[in-house]
């Protein structure tokens, strides 16, 4: 032990003082509080109807080796009798194009906003920033009428285009902020070498912007997959196009107390976004911070 506290020693001491057990306890309690609702849902989805209906899910751990209480039947019922299997495919059919199309459209626009000169560029981008917060509710009624006159209602195309329109402000905003930070010298030297804007975009900007493109892709994927409102209004609940969120709301409405099915159904809707989230968390967080905090 030294008697003189060097600056680093003070820092360390403070650090030590701070990581006292209390803060750890608070963290652990919070983590448990945040996890336990989902955990209860997962446990219940694997219990038999009988077990779910007669005892709380936590009692399952009193006798975890009692195999009679565990089952996969809930998933079988929900997937095949309640149409969740089909709804899962519909959700994929909605989500993949609705993620890809806005990225393509937004990337070109973002490049123009960042690196091309045209009259009105600045105020048009201000409009995009303003559109970021316009509530979806403002657009639904006229769009539904427009779709009705084009007989687009209830088609996947209707939802893809709607999600493209609604996702564009954030996409353009995020991508333009990223593309705008690419080194000016790189872009300019390519121009001097005779490359057109189209070539610069295709050969230089897109490859360099992969992190931003990926983080928006994850955003849009989660947003579309988890969307209920747009699917409800423009796609509807007919079984051949019904997406997972609608299937889950239907199950909740018709079988409100069938917890063995509701829990399994909810988990099916969560599997893919949770996988994407855990696999690509880094990009997702990067996108979030880029969107909200000036780097």
């Amino acid at each position: 032990m030294t008697t003189v506290d060097t600056p680093t020693a003070v820092g360390k001491k403070m650090h030590h003082w701070y990581s006292n057990p209390w803060s750890k306890i608070v963290i652990v309690i919070m983590a448990i509080m945040w996890t336990i609702p989902t955990f209860g849902l997962i446990v219940s989805s694997f219990r038999t109807k009988e077990a779910v209906n007669t005892s709380g899910w936590w009692t399952a751990f009193a006798l975890p080796m009692d195999w009679a209480q565990w089952t996969l039947e809930n998933y079988e019922t929900v997937l095949f009798s309640n149409g969740f299997g089909n709804a899962f495919l519909n959700s994929l059919a909605v989500t993949i194009p609705a993620t890809v199309i806005p990225i393509a459209v937004a990337a070109f626009a973002a490049y123009a906003f960042a690196w091309m000169d045209f009259p009105g560029r600045n105020w048009l981008f201000v409009v995009v920033v303003g559109l970021l917060v316009v509530p979806l509710q403002m657009a639904l009624i006229p769009l539904l009428r427009m779709y009705t006159s084009l007989s687009l209602n209830g088609t996947f195309l209707a939802v893809w285009l709607a999600h493209t329109g609604f996702g564009l402000p954030l996409a353009i905003y995020l991508l333009r902020n990223y593309i705008g930070t690419l080194p000016r010298s790189t872009i300019e030297s390519a121009q001097i070498d005779g490359a057109s804007h189209f070539d610069i975009f295709r050969r230089l900007v897109v490859p360099l912007s992969v992190p931003a493109l990926a983080s928006f892709a994850i955003f849009q994927f989660l947003w579309v997959w988890n969307d209920f409102l747009v699917a409800l209004v423009f796609l509807g609940g007919t079984p051949d196009v019904r997406v997972l969120t609608l299937a889950l709301v239907d199950l909740n409405g018709n079988r409100g107390e069938a917890w063995h099915l509701l829990t399994a159904g909810a988990l099916i809707t969560m599997i893919l976004p949770l996988t994407v989230f855990f696999a690509l968390q880094r990009y997702f967080v990067r996108g979030l911070t880029a969107g909200s905090v000036k780097g």
Partner: protein
Amino acid sequence: MSDQDTGHHVDPPGYGARPPLKDDGDKVKSSVLGIVAAVTLPFVLLAVFYGAFLILRDSDINRLLIVALALLIGVAGVFALYWVMNYSIDHLPERLRVRVRPWAFVGPALVFLSLYLVYPAINTVIISFKDSTSDGFVGFDNYVFVFTDEAMLRSIRNTLGWIIVVPAVSVGIGLAFAVLVDKLRRGEAVAKSLIFLPMAISFVAASIVWRFVYSFRPEGFGEQIGLLNSIWMGLGNDPVAWLLLEPWNNLLLMVIMIWLQTGFAMVILSAAIKGVPADIIEASRIDGANEFQVFRRITIPSILSTIVVVMTTAIITVMKVFDIVWVMTNGEFGTEVIAERMIRWFFRFGNNGRGAAIAVVLFVAIIPVMVFNVKRFKAEEAIR
């Protein structure tokens, strides 16, 4: 590469790509062909898009094929669209090229934005002055309804409650957690993931998760299987039908939103906290500041702008929420919110006028946030 291009030439399209020409005859032929192609290709592409539109709209072919076709159009088609526009612009007179090209890049995005946000928003304002089927004008009748109907007034009151409670609590908890976890030597990533995880879950699924927690069974209908009632009974009370318990059921719905939103606030704030320069914190510690003083005098002022951003984001999300109420209580038992009323009137009751008026009220309430965002953006651009 062409030597006609000089450094100050900003937009040198075509030069680099055009092959060397042998004689004048070839030159004329190829440029005529090029112009013909430049004029016809856009129409060919439009025809292809229209055909794809009809197929995607009307055909009953396999879902997988439709998705594959959509992806083809969405990726290859969109790229072809830009390529063709670019090609045609290359054949414009040189002075026009520089002026037209940027519009080819932003054009499609602007069309989408106008068609899906700007035009509908204006139209919604007009519809809000019309009757339920949008046939005749009714003046301010729909707005009178919005501000006199009992359920509507309740929804405005409740939405105000959501705006006050949810952002404050989720940002507060998120900040506290971000500060605590920042000091952790191990397990920071795991702890953050657990709080952040609900961000990936839909509002609908989250509502099911929490309906299960709040579940209640009347006497004679079996055991209480809801977590909350079980804890409540463990404390020696009788079970409660939580979601029917006015006005507290509103708070219980807000808990779901807090559960979903805290992770977002925490992650953003955590990133901001890590950005506070370590030497400033170190220096104040040497000056004898304790951890709380460091937090209040250094950390909070440094991340204040981030806190404001997270707050406004949370406010906007909260104002638009409708799924949670829709699933949990169907807007009954005094839990109405504005966004839920809008969908109810427009979609369930088929009253366009009232739905539109509610949407406009919601939008007007969001305008201050919009102005604030634009101002912040302009200030940031000034620094750039």
